[in-house]
Symmetry: C2
Subunit: 221 residues, 2 copies
Amino acid sequence: MKHTTRMVEVRTKVLKENDVAARAMRERFRRDGVFVVSIVSSPGSGKTAFLERTLVTLRERYRTAALVGDLATENDAQRLARSGVPVKQILTGTVCHLEADMVSRALENWDHGPLDFLFIENVGNLVCPASYDLGEDLRLLLFSVTEGEDKPLKYPTIFNTADIAIISKMDLAEAVEFDLQAARQSIQAVRPGMEIIELSSKSGKGMDRWIEYLIARRNEV
Amino acid sequence: MKHTTRMVEVRTKVLKENDVAARAMRERFRRDGVFVVSIVSSPGSGKTAFLERTLVTLRERYRTAALVGDLATENDAQRLARSGVPVKQILTGTVCHLEADMVSRALENWDHGPLDFLFIENVGNLVCPASYDLGEDLRLLLFSVTEGEDKPLKYPTIFNTADIAIISKMDLAEAVEFDLQAARQSIQAVRPGMEIIELSSKSGKGMDRWIEYLIARRNEV
């Protein structure tokens, strides 16, 4: 198709601008001592339930806030606000991912006070967010037992850009005949050595291990 | 951002080219008497299980084939090939949706014989596929009980472009405390009057109603 070259050019330019904005944010986060975690997943993998439980656990000991990206509705922000930590929604309209610039603008004029942790919940999508650095310290990929064990093989790019895979909804593993061994193998095939934690946001099982991991990563910085 | 205008221009051009290609395909499908159904959903909503069951049911009485879009792997095509109908995989690389042109190229040199039904399984994504007409007669949106009842409110564009919503994995409804009433209300809020069918590809419950609906739609053409 004739348009391909021009699309690629524009795409390269957008990504370059994004990288510049992301770098500036990363420097700022480092200076402010905030450890930033972005979360990517399919729509419906349980990002919000996971984040809600994480925020409630952390808030006892850490100053924490969350940004939530969605095409439409403030539902997730309202839900997360129940955790008692500052939460802000970013509405992307028809854009299938967050960009560094959107995060940067959301942080302006947001008086959340000093932070230890900032979470950024991306738009539910396993393709587009892969290309956009948000200045995060840790990119977390959540996928649920209901999605199929070969997801990593089908969406290798996003698994490759992530630092840790969380397998969520483990409470449903039996009902959907989830094959944990096969899922682990798929992840390792795409990203050998990747950290994997299985948990259930509903029962709380596995949350301890995730919180321990998170705090250890923060202390390394 | 400075690049916005140029992005919009290029996007408009790509979409126009897509519409031209889609129109040509729609004419061709009509001429050949093929009823074309495209399927969109999140990754892991059960598109392939649903399609497999549909193909097996239809093949007794109808000449049927399927095209399957994925970023990577031929897993879905291999799985669907077990149904005994002709199946072809379209690998999109890093592109988050199918385009009319990709479908057109996949149909070239594919000797599937005369068809009554052609199914096109899009890349698992609730954002990007919304903008691309594939020349289909029916666009089907699948969403599973594990994804949350407010999905339609969060992804209104794709629900607006679809003709029918299938709520899948109904066998898990109780385990995830799915609120069918709330899900139906979300759909009706975004697209009043939309046809909704609940089913389980696992148990087969609800499949009859879907097949009846499908055949009725074909007979209308």
